[in-house]
Amino acid sequence: MPLPTLLRALLTLLAITAGVCGAALPAMAGTLRASLSDDLTTIDPFVFPGLVSSGVLRQVYEGFTAIDSAGNAVPALATRWETPDGGRSWRFTLRPDARFHSGRPFTAADVLWTWEHHLTRKPQPGYSAFYLRGVEGAAALQQGTAAALSGVTIPDPHTLVVRLTEPDALFPLYPFLFVDRGMEAEFGPAWHERASGGTGPFRLASWRRGESVRLEAHAAYWGGAPAVDAVSLAVLPDPNTLLARYDAGDLDVAPLPDNAVRTVVRQPRYDGQIKAFARAQVRYLALNQDLYPPFRDRRVREAVGLALDRVATVNGLHAGRAALTNGFVTPGLDGYQPDAVPPAPFDPGRAKALLAEAGHAGGRGLPPLQIAGGPNVREEATYFAAQLTAVLGIPVGVRIQERAAFVAAINEGREALFINGWTADFPDPMDQLATQWHSASPTNRTHWRNPDFDRLMEQARGLADPVARNALYREAEALLREQAVGLPLPVPQFVALVRPGVTGLVIRPDGTTDYHAARLP
């Protein structure tokens, strides 16, 4: 029941004068106090979530599998998944002891209901509809020519068989969020605003838009009740405000934005409170060969790579909290193979020689360039631009745009040289290779096209054996490296300030914080 505006304004005023408004969440016994870098965009598991929302929703809802702290796929609501035909159909054995927050048991019927709802809901396809494209009958259900999802059969309440139109070895890894099918009947279409409908370790207790989220422990969680009673998450987008609140003792955990890490880790007062975790992110300096013709010469691309001192950025910009790789799949991901090829060292002499070999000695004939990026890469872009200017012999500028403008520019292929990154959604290298480099991918922002690479990706999708799949990934990576399509950049770790005595808190490689094992002093 919404309070009248005047009354709520009065309450806000009272709260302000009492000094407990905004991010200052009253500490309660057993409540872990942490923060979010932005507001949620939704608590509806059927709507496209932003990264922050998905991090919270994954505390509340679960899929067949989850990612562990090392980036491996581990059983969640499915205890086993098998394919008799190379990924064309999948048989899932579901966990028999999982219960929803409502107390109802989780069964195969809930999986089917969730999927059908994604495909039929109005006014837009649900978030997971994308992952369901390959299920037999999904298109017919979505277009309204069928009443049910024909590709799913349920032999018993804890077994589910899915038939796909094409083999997909990755289907069990997709980040589904299974929903209690009784919620809509009980609470109506806006049920998610009134109740929590998942099986996860925490139930969603409240979301005050722009202000805070409260999660409460699900005592009947199949993995055991969480060690804390609740988690309160204050929305604190500004790093200065975040640190001020942590310093004031209002937070137990403060995940740091990348551009604040360097200054924080060098302050002695935070000694022993800094925790770093691997990030399953691929980052690279992208070269658009369509837009900047000199980049079509591999020697020029290689010269750009040799002109960058990436080691210096690990130690300088990232204060050592970053992984230096020379690959297009990153650590913190199931299937990552430590790189056989060490990163090419900074070698301006060789870079100049290659440039001269390509007919551009001292930068002759090279049009001016700019390194484009979002606000979070300002320093890195400036540093690299200075190095490229010195080595290439042409002025290389920096074009920092706010995020929306930058995304629009790279989507439309309007940037020749830019810093791009991608954090994995599910624990398989496919999510970093195909999304960035397959010619049909909408997120292939360099517009690089290579039929051999595409073929490797398509073959890998049909290989249910991870070992065989990884062999193809290594081949694909070698191709990307050999072609110098982009220059791998150091991957910053997730860094958080954690109050002394707080233990067990983990940030998984996909960026989701695992509060389940967290303990307060």
Partner: protein, 299 residues
């Protein structure tokens, strides 16, 4: 007041149109920002854009938006996955109004007290201190002042009120000082002083009430200052008011929310102006717009 209503409506309409068009003119696609490139093929993006009406020509989009507005429907937020804009405003408005009320409650007594203290003609330093302090507070960018106070106060909300109240208090103090000094030079004050009235009584019983009339005339600009500073203060202190909602909506290209938030700001500004006019009318009958004129001379 009623004569000005058509003009106000026109102004409001123009402001909403401008903010809607400005939001659309920025590069960036709200749907692409919403999905963040995840799990989205071109077909899904197309459907999402269609559902949001973004596939229509801009003129059609604006006409639909304007018609809905006239019918009282502010539409739905793209960023918040279809949540009605009215719900977002309903959450955010009380926060901003509460902040503004707190700031006004702090700024008024503080400004009056400082202004009175600085009107002391016997000592020069209070006036000088006020001048320097107010120049500093009023010339500092709101974002910088808010950040400084946030860090000074560990980001707690009372300091947010202070960040809003300080510029307003500085304005009130300067006005008070000027008016009080002007009143203190009048004949009736000399008479009162000759009768042996003390300084405090002179100030509080005679000078201040007379100085309040022009102060009431400045209420509009003081409240306007508070209102325009809310966006910076809410952003820095992470308070979920209208100001921060507007900033976030613009960044996310959430056109409907950006337009509606500007509408709220315009309406608040209009309400402030009208209230200020009423106050002026109450404190100085000569300025009442009732067709009668009182020349203020004793009969």
């Amino acid at each position: 007041m009623t004569r000005r209503l058509p003009g106000l409506l026109l102004l409001t309409g123009a402001a909403v149109l401008a903010s809607f068009l400005a939001s659309h003119a920025l590069p960036g696609d709200p749907v692409l920002l919403m999905v963040e490139g995840r799990a989205a093929d071109p077909e899904m993006i197309r459907r999402l854009r269609e559902d949001a009406g973004l596939d229509q020509p801009l003129a059609v989009q604006f006409l639909n938006y304007a018609l809905d507005l006239l019918l009282g429907d502010l539409g739905q937020s793209l960023r918040y996955g279809g949540v009605p804009v009215t719900a977002l405003l309903g959450d955010a408005l009380p926060v901003t109004l509460g902040l503004m009320a707190g700031a006004a409650a702090l700024a008024l007594p503080l400004g009056l007290a400082l202004g009175l203290a600085a009107a002391d003609v016997r000592r020069a330093w209070p006036g000088t201190a006020l001048t320097i302090g107010s120049v500093l507070v009023l010339s500092a960018p709101p974002l910088a002042l808010a950040t400084w106070l946030m860090l000074a106060g560990s980001g707690t909300a009372p300091w947010a009120v202070a960040a809003l109240a300080l510029p307003a208090a500085a304005m009130i103090a300067r006005l008070t000082r000027t008016q009080v000094m002007e009143v203190l030079g009048r004949d009736f004050i000399r008479t009162a002083r000759a009768k042996g009235l003390g300084r405090a009584a002179l100030l509080l019983r005679h000078a201040l009430p007379n100085a309040l009339v022009p102060l009431a005339a400045a209420v509009g600009s003081v409240a306007g200052t508070i209102l325009t500073t809310t966006a910076a203060v809410e952003t820095v202190f992470a308070l979920p008011g209208i100001g921060r909602l507007t900033v976030q909506a613009v960044l996310a290209r959430d056109h409907t929310v950006a337009g509606a938030a500007v509408l709220v700001f315009v309406l608040l500004q209009v309400a402030i102006s009208l209230t200020a006019e009423m106050l002026i009318g109450l404190t100085d009958p000569r300025l009442r717009d009732d067709g009668l004129r009182d020349d203020g001379k004793p009969s």
